[in-house]
């Protein structure tokens, strides 16, 4: 058994998790404590690096908190209009078929403003990878109801919690996409536990491998914590995600293409 001697000061200064960042991260994020989106960005960038496609990758980023990642990800990026990332990515991929093209969108971006875009891009079998960061609220504007908000969730536009009678039912984007023939790889991960992060990273890797093999459309939905938008303490975000969102949106692979 290893015993750590705490009677002496450490031989080197303490380092933050951020100090171990992948080289594609140009700086620290500016999002709230407890936010899950920076974790998702980190594993995405790690996958690009591990697949050695960094210098032929183009990202298309929508509008949400993650929009600020445009400044800290060392990848060629089009910051596009709200909801339109799969359409823009389609145009990019069609004229640069040798590039790996991905979108980064929130649930407000993809399930509300841009549901049509992602469904049609998937049905066309566009060889792009869409990454949905689903925290179930409009985080950037301070926690309002999205199409993906789970039943019972309190938001600033569903103060007593989402009820189906008033607000309807949440839209499970990944499940819709998985039902389309053009979709070759669809999975749902999370960043609420270390195990889920590792699983999500594997999903992202398989999604990009699907794209690079020319097999069709790929989508990875990632459940991310938004303690600010959920009105829970930052430290309780992961547990809250497991109790609420993960119950409505089970983790796992929904569609996997055959090699």
């Amino acid at each position: 058994m290893t015993v750590i001697d705490t009677s002496q000061p450490p031989s080197e200064p303490a380092r933050k998790v951020a100090d171990f960042r992948p080289s594609l991260l140009l700086g620290e994020h500016s999002l709230c404590p407890g936010c899950g989106e920076p974790v998702a960005l980190r594993v995405l960038l790690e996958v690009l690096q591990e697949l050695d496609i960094v210098q032929r990758t183009i990202g298309v980023v929508g509008h949400g908190c993650y929009g600020s990642f445009v400044r800290i990800m060392d990848v060629d990026v089009l910051q596009c209009l709200h909801g339109r990332a799969p359409a823009c990515a389609t145009g990019i991929k069609r004229v640069r078929p040798d590039c790996a093209v991905f979108t980064m969108q929130g649930d407000g971006d993809m399930a509300n403003e841009g549901l049509q875009e992602v469904l049609h891009a998937a049905a066309r079998g566009e060889k792009i990878t869409c990454v949905l960061l689903n925290n179930g609220v409009f985080g950037d504007t301070g926690g309002q109801l999205t199409a993906a908000t789970v039943l019972g969730q309190r938001t600033k536009t569903s103060l007593e919690g989402r009820d189906a009678e008033t607000h309807g039912y949440p839209i499970p984007v990944a499940d819709l996409v998985a039902g389309l023939r053009g979709a070759a790889y669809v999975a749902r991960g999370a960043v609420s536990t270390a195990g889920a992060v590792a699983q999500t990273k594997r999903m992202l890797r398989r999604a990009f491998e699907t794209q690079l093999a020319g097999a069709g459309f790929s989508l990875v939905e990632i459940l991310t914590m938004c303690p600010t938008g959920w009105f829970v303490p930052a430290s309780e975000g992961p547990g809250y995600l497991g109790d609420s969102m993960e119950q409505a949106y089970p983790l796992g692979e929904l569609t996997t293409w055959r090699h």
Partner: protein
Amino acid sequence: MTLELLEGSEAIATSAIAAGCRFFAGYPMSPFTGLLENMSRQLPAAGGVCLNAESEIEGVNMTLGAAAAGARAATGSCGQGIALMQEAIAEAALNETPFVVFNMARNQQDYFQATRGGGWGDYRTITLAPKDVPEAVEHAQLAFHLADKHRAPVIFYGDPLLAQTRIGVSVRPLDFGPLPPKDWALDGTGGGTGRSRQVWTWAMGKATDPGPGPDRHWRAIAEKFAAIDAIETRSEQAHVEDAETLVVAFGSAAKFVEYVVEELRADGHRIGWFRPVTLWPFPGGALAAATAGVRRVLVFELNAGQMLDDVRIHAADRSAVRFIGGVSIAESGLAYGDLMDAPVIRDRILTACSEGGRS
């Protein structure tokens, strides 16, 4: 020069491809549909891609993506569909993505849409308004040149007569001069270099390579459009020197006006015509000079009076300006009505002349 008998839509598609257009996305709508069909038929053989988009909104955003990746790209519709594209056209003006929007319009009621736009922000859209199919063939290529020259979306303002008239034309690549390299375009190679590229309306740059940010960027965009206003105006005129009456018209209507004015000229009337070729930038200086010595300035357009605003702004004496156009739509809603006819235009001009003018 060998002429080929082509319908306008086919001639315009052929010309756009000759200009290097390799991506097109659109949504069917009359009378734009012919252009979409021709692009769909011709682009694959040219190594390009044409997509029948799920809506005009996706069509223009696909085009924005292809253009941001460095391709010559275009979309189109008629005014009703281009209404849906306004957000992306404004975005492209502000994030400096060059592409061409073919408005194969149903009529001339899209002048405000083209020259004022419906998006947000301090932007303008260069707008070319050809008067006939041969000029449309030239403009289909000029539009791409101007877009790339200024890194801005350009509107080609056509109509049913340009889309559907079959005429002998010659389509060959035209050289409008050198262009700056597209070193800003996204090709994926910037990743991991610390200076990866970014196309972003807010232009904030990367943490390690900061951009100007929205304040400086949007002021620079406004200055760019002011510079375009100063150098890219195009117009045509005839019989201005001794004219008492000057008729101003654009697009197909100007072709009709030109014909009627020549007739009246032959009858001894001291009359001339003026045609803005670019609707934005509006050739205000040329119009001011052309109207300096005339008694009346007649504006003929197939709408309730839209270019009329620009003529009033720029005419040497706005009290001399009279409107002789009007809304005129065929029963189908898809083409011009009775007003687009030489005898009718002749009557309106003669009536306006009999009502006097500036002394």
